[in-house]
């Protein structure tokens, strides 16, 4: 078994990098994408995160060849696959696509669905089916090979979608919110599967999502899109800890804003910050300058206890493994997260102090 696995794995081609330059798209006079530039390294999985209408899906459609750009180029390896005057047809791009709606053809069984891309590449039917069965076996789907799509659960359907996308050893894998239609349990399960398969295949991938934990957990890097423009590209940790503007901060998780003054920067990565008259040594990111006046506080970046600023619990939300407290400190309200069961009640007094802060770049 292991031998067979290896063979399929080695059969995967060397992945090529994707390079998008100055890409703009206009549909029905609406500017959907504007001057987008980014690269994806070989074997890398880039998540595209953005609110509805940010242009995520349109970007995938350009990469898949369904939409022609107004300007800019899309290069796959050293081939230009999209430009205003040249579009390589979708069927000649060598791309794998995992659709939000699964897009399984209702009359084809699992085996023929996965064999389809191989058949279109000119493989003989028997050979294509044999290869498809190998892939299904690797994904643990071989017992389902004779079933029709409507005889599968949502999670199984999407696994078949994944197998089909991997079947033709694509140069680039595109995922369009592949877990959006699944229950929570299947979501996490499939995310892990996708991550694992993409890595073991060594394929370059783009993963569109509007679900932050999903994007953070599957991707090597995250690109935040808003109103058709790139707002930030970075590792999930960078996006979370150092959001470059309000949109990125908003989309990447809860936060509160606090006013303060940087008193000193004893060494790189730490600072002493004065908040409401008290000084706190905190971890900081690189971008904090001496003149920073406004800070982002993520809910788990501090602690409550006996010392710090006096705070009153004005609201709380029990979330299972953690509790979110809403604290009133002077005239600001701040969200603080604590692991475990609730220890405070609404109305109780406590003290809060920050352990980490980030510079706010979102204006006033």
């Amino acid at each position: 078994m292991a031998k067979q696995d290896d063979r399929v794995e080695r059969a995967a081609p060397l992945s090529l990098a994707l390079c998008v330059e100055n890409l703009s798209v206009r549909i029905n006079h609406n500017q959907i994408l504007k001057d987008l530039t980014f690269e994806v390294a070989p074997g890398e999985l880039l998540a595209i995160l953005g609110p509805s209408g940010s242009g995520k899906t349109t970007l995938l459609n350009v990469l898949a060849g369904f939409v022609q750009p107004e300007q800019g180029t899309v290069r796959l390896g050293d081939t230009i696959i999209s430009s205003p005057d040249h579009v390589v047809p979708s069927d000649q791009r060598g791309i794998g696509f995992v659709f939000q709606s699964y897009a399984l053809w209702p009359h084809l069984n699992v085996l023929d669905t996965v064999a389809y891309p191989l058949l279109r590449q000119g493989e003989a039917r028997a050979h294509a089916r044999k290869q498809a069965l190998e892939i299904l076996t690797r994904l643990g789907l071989d017992p389902l090979s004779r079933r029709l799509p409507h005889e599968l659960s949502g999670g199984q359907q999407q696994r078949v979608g994944l197998a089909r996308a991997l079947a033709a050893r694509p140069r680039l894998l595109l995922f369009d919110e592949p877990t959006a239609n699944l229950d929570e349990f299947w979501k996490v399960d499939l995310q892990m599967e996708i991550r694992q398969r993409q890595r073991s295949w060594g394929a370059t991938g783009l993963y569109v999502s509007h679900h932050v934990p999903e994007a953070f957990s599957v991707a090597d890097r995250v690109m935040v899109l808003a109103q058709g423009q790139v707002r930030q590209i970075g590792s999930p940790l960078e996006i979370y800890q150092e959001p470059e503007d309000k949109v990125v901060a908003d989309i990447s998780g809860s936060y509160s804003l606090v006013d303060g003054v940087v008193e000193s920067v004893p060494r790189s990565g730490t600072a002493v910050v004065n908040l409401m008259g008290q000084s706190f040594p905190v971890s900081i990111n690189q971008g904090i300058a001496a003149d920073t006046k406004k800070f982002i506080y993520r809910p788990e970046w501090g602690m409550i206890g006996d010392d710090g600023l006096s705070a009153k619990v004005v609201d709380m939300r029990f979330q299972g493994s953690f509790v979110d407290y809403f604290l009133q400190i002077d005239d600001i309200q701040l969200q603080h997260r604590q692991l475990g069961s609730p220890t405070l009640q609404v109305g109780e007094q406590t003290h809060w102090k920050p352990k980490r802060l980030a510079r706010w770049s979102g204006g006033n």
Binding site: D91, R93, Q100, A168
Partner: protein, 554 residues
């Protein structure tokens, strides 16, 4: 300017797609726009003659008869249709489908065969007078026409009401019940408003069918000196030698077309107000009739169908079996199959062959046109205008189409099957309309998946679209085939002795008083139609199954 590759099919094949569109539009122009234009031009050319003709007593009285009889028949058909829909809807899901199919059968028997069967069943000397010594003297004339039109169109109303009931969700009804309404009150609060809102559109449809029907007023109206517009046109054209008769037919056609189009326009305007709420995930409403009410309802439906369908059809069959007309039809010793075997030998056999081939050719051509049009409209939304025009001929009475075909094509194709074929194309293209909506519903992602996984244009259609379209295309093919096979109005205007169709043969046999032949052909057609109805039913059930799959997928 960014181009949206709406259709993966189009990539690299634009020249071919434009050629396809050109051919399609040319066909559309030749068989639909041109004839309609000819009708208007001819009317204008006749000028005042047409207007004068419209004001004559005969025209006015024919119009009046048509409108009043059609209105009355419509009201009756709506009542019957709604009653049957409520009863059938109250049954268990399993038995529903069968009862529904059975209740739909009268629609599949050609109107003139139906009328003839009623004559055999309920007139003096018919089966009822032989068995029970009673008969309906009113069957010839106004009431006979009204009742038969209502019987024939009630399934149309049933179909629409039944579909509407299926779309009503249960929560509004349940809410009314929870807040203290009795079952009846809750029905009027939560269900009736939906039904009421679609009455105008269903009524419009039924009215158009009635006013355009030719077979029933011909068989039941003419002998009772009750003239409707369609029969008037037929008479005018039969006596074409009489000066002015063509002008008269022309003005009658125009007035009929105006009525039909007006009814459709009103129906479209009022019909868009349907207020059915389809809440996501809510359960469909179920009428939950008590078992007693259900039994009474089913009893009424059975009684009705025995009266309007089974008994007349039985009478027709007995007439067809009897050795010589006038002998007691219920005595087996008088039975023979000679009438049926004679059909195959004589001119009737040829007519059957003509009709079957013509109907198959028309159905096939229209299936191709329908599929191509659905593809074109899917990709070029602006051409949806074609869709709104193709159903006009279907709603315009066959007599009018017949006249427009004569005006346009008689100079080249007089006395050929081709002119009848063209008339069928023009008349029934509208039946292919559901393909367009269905094509629009094929999930785009299926096509895109095929494209991205390496399929070219043709293969993409074959993988992602055709499996969705095939069963509906099959059902519509059958629908056109059946409609063309029992089409009487147009072929009665367009046929020559060399190009007789099945319906024309029945008509002529009936006019010549050749009752047993008429009955034999009628029986044959009715059986064929009913088999077709069952086939369509099976087809549509397969369709529902495949759309269930689509819910899972899409």
């Amino acid at each position: 300017m960014t181009r949206l590759w709406q259709s993966p099919r189009m990539g690299g094949h634009r020249v071919w797609s434009w050629i396809g569109i050109g051919v399609l539009l040319a066909i559309f122009g030749i068989i639909i726009l041109w004839p309609l234009g000819e009708l208007v031009t001819a009317a204008l050319a006749q000028g005042l003659g047409v207007v004068r003709e419209l004001a004559t007593t005969e025209t006015v009285s024919a119009l009046e008869n048509s409108v009043i009889a059609s209105l009355l028949a419509t009201i009756l058909a709506l009542a019957i249709g709604l009653g049957m829909a409520l009863v059938v809807f109250g049954l268990s899901e399993r038995s529903r489908t069968w009862w529904f199919t059975i209740a739909m059968l009268p629609l599949f028997i050609p109107p003139f065969v139906d009328a003839f069967a009623w004559l055999e069943a309920y007139t003096q000397g018919g089966l009822s007078s032989q068995l029970m010594h009673w008969s309906f003297s009113w069957l010839y004339g106004f009431w006979g026409v009204v009742i038969l039109l209502a019987v024939h169109t009630a399934p149309l109303a049933l179909l629409s009401f039944y579909a509407a009931l299926g779309r009503i969700r249960g929560h509004a009804y349940n809410a009314a019940r929870i807040f203290g309404a009795t079952g009846t009150r809750a029905f009027f609060t939560a269900v009736w408003p939906h039904i009421r809102s679609i009455i105008p559109s269903i009524g419009g449809l039924v009215f158009i069918f009635c006013i355009g029907d030719f077979g029933i007023p011909l068989v039941l109206g003419l002998p009772g000196h009750f003239l409707m517009v369609t029969t008037d046109i037929y008479q005018d054209l039969s006596y074409a030698a009489i000066p002015g008769s063509f002008t008269q037919a022309l003005s009658l056609s125009l007035s009929l077309a105006i009525f039909a189009v007006a009814a459709i326009v009103i129906q479209r305007i009022v019909g868009t107000q349907e207020t059915t709420l389809a809440a996501v995930g809510a359960h469909p409403w179920s009428s939950n009739l008590s078992s007693r009410a259900s039994k009474i309802g089913v009893g009424a439906v059975v009684g009705y169908l025995l009266f309007v369908l089974v008994f007349p059809f039985l009478s027709l069959m007995l007439t067809a079996l009897v050795r010589a007309y006038g002998l007691v039809a219920t005595a087996p010793r008088n039975w023979t199959l000679a009438n049926f075997t004679a059909l195959i030998r004589g001119s009737v056999g040829l007519a059957i062959l003509h009709s079957v081939l013509l109907a198959a050719a028309a159905a096939t051509a229209l299936a191709i046109l329908g599929v191509v049009l659905s593809e074109v409209i899917r990709n070029y939304v602006r051409l949806a205008i074609v869709q709104s025009v193709i159903w006009i001929p279907y709603t315009v009475p066959g007599s009018v189409i017949g006249i427009t075909m004569i005006l346009t094509f008689n100079r080249w194709f007089y006395g050929t099957f081709f002119i009848i074929f063209l008339a069928y194309l023009a008349k029934f293209w509208g039946l292919m309309d559901p393909l367009i909506a269905f094509r629009r519903d094929v999930p785009k992602s299926l096509e895109r998946a095929a494209r991205i996984f390496g399929a070219k244009a043709g293969r993409t259609y074959w993988t992602a679209v055709w499996p969705w379209m095939s069963s509906l295309t099959g059902s519509l093919w059958l629908l056109v085939f059946i409609n063309a096979l029992y089409e009487l109005t147009m072929s009665s205007l367009l046929y020559t002795p060399r190009t007789e169709t099945l319906a024309v043969v029945v008509l002529n046999a009936q006019q010549q008083g050749n009752v047993t032949t008429t009955a034999a052909v009628g029986t044959l057609i009715a059986l064929l139609m009913m088999a077709g109805a069952v086939l369509i039913n099976v087809g549509s059930r397969r369709l529902r199954a495949s759309s269930k799959e689509s819910e899972v997928v899409g």
